[in-house]
């Protein structure tokens, strides 16, 4: 393993991992309130397509970014209506949102396939730019989302563990009866978690189309949403641990690209399987014990007192 390869891997991991991290953070917030959103893939796609479309129309990637966040929040609110208000089965509802995301993103993005956009601007701190080993890589030359990725993770962590709201959200996710008994409005807390989580998901999707690839293609998230769901488990529902997880899986994807670029004999298809298999292995190896770390009321519908 040479240094350029390692650096390239690291750089790639950070780039790839950004959207994974945002998606994981969003889903962590939601799951901490006791809701599983299998439709995260759909949220990412909607964020990507809306972001791309608005950017193409307005010529401004910031509008695109904001629109993507709003779209993600909207998606999750819709999901929230199903599972919190109508008390529908969370798994089936999540899949409904997945389908919706597939279709809506395709419709929204269709007119803009092939459009050229100026994506999110990237910055590199001047004092780092002059270093030789940095110059040849993409390291430290990031857009706003990547720069803010770790701070946002810390912020989400802080919100969950140091604020009254976060305490309430976690209580709902662990034992809604106890939260209810303590006088909290469980439905409102869940809706709020879904809203913010959705916005983060929208941003995750936007990063793909507005920064990583500067394109839009149907199904372009390629299962990142499901990997993020697995990452939530892997990081034991802790936003700080999610950073490590996102880096790891981002690294797996980056490895795939690096090996391809260097003409590795390993088929790109086999490499492409890595993230999913890795996810499965991780769930298997740690899923059993991790389950203890899960919010105790995850996936369950709360019907009110008693």
């Amino acid at each position: 393993m040479t240094t350029p390869l390692l650096l390239g891997l690291l750089a790639g991991a950070i780039l790839s991992g950004t959207s994974l991290l945002y998606a994981t953070l969003g889903e962590t917030l939601v799951e901490r309130s006791g809701i599983v959103n299998l439709g995260l893939e759909g949220v990412l796609l909607v964020g990507a397509s809306v972001g791309f479309a608005i950017t193409a129309i307005s010529g401004n990637a910031w509008f695109g970014l904001m629109a993507a966040a709003a779209a993600g929040a909207l998606m999750n609110s819709l999901f929230g209506w199903l599972v919190v208000t109508r008390k529908a089965n969370q798994l089936a509802s999540g899949l409904a949102m997945m389908f919706f995301g597939f279709g809506a993103s395709a419709l929204i993005g269709a007119p803009y396939v092939g459009a050229i956009i100026t994506g999110l601007p990237k910055w590199r701190p001047v004092w780092l730019a002059d270093l030789d080993w940095v110059k040849s890589t993409t390291l430290f030359n990031y857009d706003l989302l990547t720069w803010l990725a770790v701070p946002v993770a810390i912020l989400v962590w802080w919100i969950l563990f140091a604020t009254r709201w976060g305490l309430g959200v976690r209580a709902v996710g662990e034992m809604p009866a106890a939260a209810f008994a303590a006088g909290r409005n469980t439905a409102r807390l869940q809706y709020q978690a879904l809203l913010y989580g959705g916005a983060l998901g929208g941003l995750a999707g936007a990063h793909l189309s507005l920064s990583l690839t500067l394109t839009w293609a149907e199904y372009m998230t390629a299962g990142r949403g499901f990997i993020a769901i697995a990452l939530v488990i892997f990081s034991k529902w802790n936003p700080l641990r999610a950073i490590a997880g996102a880096l790891l899986f981002g690294g797996a994807e980056a490895m795939e690209l690096q090996l391809q670029a260097r003409g590795s004999p390993i088929s790109p298809f086999v490499l492409g399987m890595l993230p999913y298999l890795l996810t499965l292995v991780v769930l298997l190896a740690w899923g059993g014990s991790r389950r203890l770390a899960a919010p105790a009321s995850l996936g369950r519908t709360f019907y009110g007192a008693n």
């Binding site: 009254r164 309430g168 976690r170 209580a171 034992m175 106890a178 006088g183």
Partner: protein, 523 residues
């Protein structure tokens, strides 16, 4: 401060307005009167115990006082003023707090977080140090020392209970209601709890606690109220009552065995073969379950063994252990002379073990499926006929079973979930008894049955015995146990603490063993 065992000074003058009072409380659940014109007065700076048998209505009364349950009629007065409690929030606003048997603590959260969650005056950004400080203040004052940063699930049950108390104190409660607080505590934790009670009482708090452990009640309560069958049947000031008096008030007159159809004692001769043997059987428990410790039980052919015990002594775990649902953590289990310690449930059932569970709806029935299908599913391989089921043979056998039991057979196409509780129980019983099982495990079998059906079920158990089969009857009805048991075992906290032959025991004695008030007898 009064030490345990010392009689407390009773204030002979008329007490000031009680902190909390219930007048004429009535609450009905279907046919059952859980509360029937109950009066209760709880004074300031008083430790008041509420005792009674299972099902006496203690829990219901306390839940009414906490706003958890709405009474059908009656008044609640707080400091002399009538109030209406719509919910626990109302009760808490009035300074009433309750500590349940199942704590509403969130295990993965810390003590601090659990308490903070409860505070209505918590700022948006939680000041952990400030909350911690307040916790320490109360902890110091009342002997509720606990590590505020620890996760609740790491705490012992006794410490968890302290957290529940702190929760209420920090939320400005002045009346504290406890539902069976010592049930899950070790002896030294019980002593610590009573010290806390004394400390609270000293500062004018009022404590109402529900229990069936009479020894403790005598040790620490200022006043004792006794309930039975939903009525308040006695109220004593400390010093007026002793153990025997309380037990007599709690259990009433049970000594007389019903003389109708007194069966002749089954000759359980030494040559009778054992149907079930547990040798030093133990099993683990998690959460609210009760671990079983080294049980030695032997049931022979043609014998009914009854197991008495207050709920939560390990009855469910014992039934599950015999069935094979719960693995043995130690010791062995033998069925008809074969080592069945590792048998699958199917095998256990095939060898002739019938199980009438505590809650047939959730444990032995499939509500969405028809009665016919429910019957088929309980018979294992017996009616397997090629690819399908021999429905006619099954139906005929089941019809016979229903007839033998004098139970009406519901329409077989009816969905099981549409049956009333009693009817569903009957179907399960008919199914289990249909093939002359060698061992009948019955947990609270006559619960929910009307008088006639209950009587015929008891007859059925006697008949099973007469045919040379064995019956293990676990129930809380001492009358029933008196009528049916050839031998009576008393189960307490996962161990057998007493064994008696038919006719050789009295209700009071058994009552004491059941409540852990006396050490093991005849074991």
């Amino acid at each position: 401060m009064a030490a345990t065992g010392e009689l407390l000074n009773v204030e002979a003058r008329v007490p000031a307005t009680p902190m909390l009072e219930a007048r004429g409380m009535c609450k009905r659940y279907g046919d059952v009167k859980a509360a029937d014109g109950v009066d209760l007065r709880l004074n300031r700076g008083e430790i008041h115990a509420l005792v009674g048998e299972n099902g006496a209505g203690k829990s219901t009364l306390s839940k009414i006082l906490y706003g958890f349950v709405h009474p059908d009629s009656g008044e609640i007065l707080v400091s002399g003023k009538p109030v209406v409690l719509h919910s626990p929030q109302d009760a808490r606003a009035l300074g009433i707090g309750m500590v349940f048997q199942n704590f509403t603590l969130i295990p993965p959260l810390s003590v601090l977080e659990n308490i903070a969650l409860f505070l209505t005056d918590l700022p948006p950004v939680v000041r952990h140090e400030a909350v911690e400080k307040r916790i320490h203040e109360f902890a110091e004052r009342f002997g509720l020392g606990v590590d505020a940063r620890a996760q609740v699930r790491q705490l012992s049950v006794g410490d968890q209970q302290k957290v529940e108390i702190l929760k209420l104190l920090l939320a400005h409660a002045r009346v504290l209601i406890f539902d069976e607080p010592t049930k899950v505590l070790a002896p030294h934790e019980v002593a610590a709890l009573f010290r806390v009670f004394e400390a609270l009482k000293g500062e004018g708090y009022s404590i109402l606690f529900i229990t069936h452990k009479i020894r403790e009640v005598l040790a620490c309560a200022d006043r004792i109220s006794v309930m039975r069958h939903g009525k308040m049947v006695g109220s004593f000031v400390a010093g007026e009552a002793d153990m025997e008096k309380l037990v007599a008030t709690m259990f009433g007159e049970h000594a007389a065995v019903r003389s109708i159809e007194q069966p002749s004692p089954a000759p359980s001769s030494p040559t009778s073969r054992p149907v079930l043997e547990l040798r030093g059987a133990s099993c683990r428990a998690s959460g609210n379950e009760t671990a079983l410790n080294g049980l030695d039980i032997r049931i022979t052919e043609g014998e009914i063994v009854g197991v008495a015990g207050v709920s939560g002594s390990g009855q469910k775990e014992l039934g599950d252990l015999i069935l094979g649902l719960r693995p043995l953590a130690g010791g062995s289990k033998w069925l008809c002379g074969e080592d069945a310690s590792a048998w699958s449930i199917a095998r256990v059932r095939e060898s002739g073990v019938a199980f009438i569970p505590e809650d047939p709806l959730t444990m032995a029935a499939f509500p969405g499926m028809s009665v016919r299908e429910n019957l088929a599913l309980g018979t294992g391989k017996r009616y397997w006929h090629g690819v399908t089921i021999a429905w006619q043979a099954l139906e005929a056998a089941m019809a016979d079973s229903f007839r033998a039991l004098a139970f009406p057979m519901p329409p077989l196409d009816m969905p099981m979930g549409a049956l009333s509780g009693g009817n569903l129980q009957r179907v399960v019983v008919a199914r289990e008894m249909a093939h002359g099982p060698k061992l009948v495990l019955a947990l609270y079998p006559t619960r929910g049955l009307d008088v006639l059906s209950a009587a015929s079920l008891r007859e059925l158990l006697l008949r099973a015995r007469g045919q040379g089969n064995a019956v293990l009857l676990i129930t809380d009805d001492l009358d029933e146990l008196a009528e049916l048991s050839d031998r009576l075992l008393v189960l307490f906290a996962g161990a057998i603490v007493g064994e008696f032959k038919r006719g050789a025991w009295q209700a009071e004695e058994v009552g004491l063993l059941m409540t852990g008030s006396r050490g093991a007898a005849n074991v």
